[in-house]
Symmetry: C2
Subunit: 547 residues, 2 copies
């Protein structure tokens, strides 16, 4: 018989090791945990988002037994439609709310047909291929989140999912400590744990803190209250609904995704709004300001979001007015600081009072900090520790925490996306490195944009483009008409008017010399000239027609 072993492969999007997708393989069976998307860095120009690299799964298509989800945030479910378009025979397993949010996506992609969707309750177990999977509830900023206890032929692997230990969660449903302890009794071979906040000392505060902050903000607000957050932060929706109720304000949700998610969450019993408390935005705009609370998207300063448009006065239905209180109730994703702060400044300019994380605790993280991580380690008592869900610097810090709890360094595997981890005879080892590339989604294109196009776009973005067109006589190579030079994003037309006549001269000189590779030669001469004159390196495109 062949030499069997368990393979664990983190397949990420933006290098957050296993956050967007984790693969477990034993013999002829593969299960996949999560299938999320990541938003691009500022240097990934024009990219809408990044999805996991399915190549390894394509190569092992026939082995895939199921796709399992931990919770309903975009970075864990966002790429499910891309996956099912290609692997539509793979059954999906998720808890009720997560499944509800997945269905919304599949509906949009009209993929609901012939996909096997299995709704699993937190606390129950399901068998998928050779894997027995316990779904255990964890607290996070969206209800119905779970971690997974994955019983494999080589031992029990626990994958935390996004979690924090919240003793006063919005839905009064604490993390399933009992299950974690049960795992430790059964013996945990390896713990794969969320390291998002591994650099944060102490405990992550309870969501309760946000409710208390809102209870301060609401009574002080004289006019309307507008709370911006992520469309998938369902717990935050409940907190705003509760505050609105407490201070006699009607609540209305604005923004397609937020409205949809609120509807699903209500339908499935994860968001509770009293009869008559929720109204439409149209209705809300007819009420006295002090009776209105509006919840919308745009907490990252996205220009096309509701808050983004409000900050620029381009929202279709209403405008910010003096007396409005705007609350940004979500973390600023690193890289978005500028956009968020300029949105805040614009809202102030329009007369709103803006309350944000830096001046009041209107947001807390849904991810465990250093003490949470240590508690998870002590509750599960794993033999091996695999820090996940973070950049290398965060995994390194997570490893330090594990060592502090007594796990020997040689039992900690700090790996990056594509690194195969093999488990056999109770031993964990590093295997091959599977090639993982970032799959960019840009418009309707998936994966057609790569490093080359990125480099071109970066060049273009820095100094613009100059294009030169030359028409020569096919026979004697003589110039038929004056070369055309136009540019975009290079310099003002005023400057260009001074510069281009000289540029044209250098081009004509080059043509006279009729070098062998004229396109290349003109490009070289011209870029040299432009650099001397302006210290800039625009992209230069030369086309030569011989007629």
């Amino acid at each position: 018989m062949k030499n069997k072993s368990l393979k664990i492969i983190p397949i990420g999007g933006l290098g957050e090791v296993g956050r967007n997708m984790m693969v477990y393989e034993y013999d002829d069976d593969i299960i996949i945990v999560d299938c999320g998307l990541m938003f691009p860095n500022n240097d990934m120009l024009g990219v809408d988002y990044i999805i996991p690299d399915f190549q390894y799964l394509r190569n092992n298509r026939q082995k895939i037994r199921g796709l399992i989800f931990t919770h309903g945030h975009e970075d864990h479910i966002g790429a499910v439609n891309y996956f099912l378009e290609e692997f539509n025979n793979v059954p999906v397993y998720a808890t009720p709310l997560t499944m509800g949010l997945i269905k919304v996506k599949l509906g949009k992609a009209s993929l609901t047909q012939n996909v096997a969707l299995h709704t699993i309750q937190a606390g129950s177990q399901v068998k998928v291929g050779k894997f027995k999977i316990d779904f255990f509830h964890v607290c996070h900023s969206i209800p119905d989140s779970v971690g997974l206890g994955i019983e494999t032929p080589e031992g029990l692997i626990v994958q935390s999912g996004d979690y924090k230990f919240d003793h006063t969660p919005v839905d009064n449903w604490p993390t399933d400590y009992a299950k974690l302890v049960e795992f430790s009794k059964r013996g945990v071979l390896a713990l794969i744990a969320d390291s998002t906040n591994s650099t944060r000392p102490g405990w992550t505060p309870s969501e309760q803190v946000v409710s208390e902050a809102l209870d301060k903000v609401f009574p002080q607000a004289k006019g309307r209250i507008i709370v911006a957050s992520f469309a998938s932060l369902v717990s935050r929706m409940q907190q705003v609904v509760n505050a609105a109720k407490k201070f006699n304000r009607k609540i209305t949700f604005v923004g397609t995704s937020m409205v949809e998610n609120a509807k699903i969450a209500q339908k499935l019993g994860f968001l509770f709004i009293d009869e008559g408390q929720q109204i439409s935005i149209e209705e809300a705009l007819t009420l006295p300001d002090e009776q209105v609370a509006i919840m919308c998207t745009g907490s990252q300063g996205e220009p096309t979001s509701i808050l983004g448009r409000l900050s620029r006065g381009t929202q279709r239905q209403f405008d910010i007015k003096s007396g409005d209180t705007v609350v940004l109730s979500s973390k600023t994703i690193p890289g978005n600081e500028e956009a968020v702060f300029s949105t805040i400044n614009d809202l102030f300019r329009r007369g709103a009072n803006v309350i944000y994380e830096q001046i009041a605790p209107v947001h807390v993280s849904g991810h465990g900090s250093q003490e949470d991580i240590k508690l998870l380690l002590h509750l599960t008592k794993p033999k091996y520790f695999i820090p996940a869900y973070g950049e290398l610097r965060q995994l390194k810090q997570s490893a330090i925490l594990a060592m502090q709890t007594g796990i020997p360094e040689r039992h900690i595997a700090v790996v990056e996306d594509g690194q195969v981890i093999t488990v056999k005879n109770n031993k964990l080892r590093l295997g091959d490195q599977e090639p993982i590339s970032m799959v960019f989604v840009d418009g309707s294109g998936v994966g057609d944009i790569g490093p080359d196009e990125m480099r071109d776009r970066e060049m273009l973005s820095k100094d613009g483009v100059i294009l030169v067109h030359v028409i020569l006589n096919k026979k004697d190579g003589a110039l038929i008409t004056d070369p055309e030079i136009i540019s975009r994003g290079f310099t003002s037309s005023r400057e260009a008017d001074e510069l281009f006549p000289q540029a044209r001269k250098t081009i004509l000189d080059t043509i006279k010399r009729s070098p062998s590779n004229m396109e290349k030669e003109i490009t070289k001469i011209l870029s040299g000239f432009i650099y001397r004159e302006t210290q800039r390196r625009p992209t230069i495109l030369v086309t030569i027609s011989k007629i």
Copy 2:
């Protein structure tokens, strides 16, 4: 006689209200405080930096009596050479270290000739035009920093400069409390104060905290220690030098700007290094690792900086090796988070242990927090308060602090760049709004890049460029040769090979219809086709030659 009054005009670069330049005008006299540069936001594509808009000064050229500097950081002195190129008859006033750093800049721009440079000691007074200016020492992250007490015919205005109240500063030179109290005795009409950290509760910690952190890092490091910071953070240099001495390491500075600044600071007696403790990098590389401390630039993850190159293994003189300890000892400027974190990850990948603000207090801010700001208000007891040096959100928060100390809201002027503040008969009022535009420096071009070019570059960066060239017969408008289509940063060549033949068809159809404005029509038709096929909007450039 004409109706005289004092005018105060904040002239910023990136909207940090007065940080980069502040103008005081009375009758026929103008003095200018600071002339700094700002680094561009991520959406200012290709811009190297931004300098203050000199237009108001051009219009009042003959009135300018002097340019006064508060301290030697780039955002306060960085544009001095641009100013003096245009206004070379304006005398400059600064403290010794600040003047030393200014001279370096003027030297590079070969402007040292015929510029009147007046070195002023902190604590002394100088008369410039109708203004009597007290230079008073403040603690900041560079030595020899001052705030200004500006006695005007309309009263005493105090401008704080960048400051914090540090009771254990690196140079043992605390803020000049006595002078601040003296001002309050004379009666401060208006206080213009640094609001950088107005959203931070409590006090800004002393620089001492960083020394203590370094004293923990140094003994634990087994190999070389590499500390990255700003080239102008002279106090930080001293702290690293002290730690190196304490733990028997030689110190070497790497990076032109850092080496130059260290030399000036030493020459002027603001940086003390024992005979023989400072060595060259070449020498350092021959010593045992545990005897070496290297200080370099690159704490913002700038790709061309020393640390940036080390993180990518492209530094000319040496490479990161396992055992190195890298310390990032400076704040991450908002917007640079991604670059800094990916630099940290790359350094970890190369085997270094990286210590940064999030995991150890290896940096503290040089700007006062909420309690510092309140103390400054109580020490100076101004009638009016003008929060400065910050974005609108920070000024608003600063105003709240002032109200907490008892200044009535009607005596607080939250203004933005270009807003003229007039003072007459002990009353402060808002005057006209001077038009202020951002002056972009890109390569050797100053101000030739504006919003239009930015928009073009953004378009180009999002979806690239497609260029089409058509040659028609001058007489009958018939097509002479097949239209040429090339692109950059739009899609992979593989995709383009499929797409462009169809695109060519739509172009040919359009040419057949020979519409009046063919360029425009082809652009329209083509961009429509491209969007339908790819959901992208590349920049489309069409040139038509009629021969």
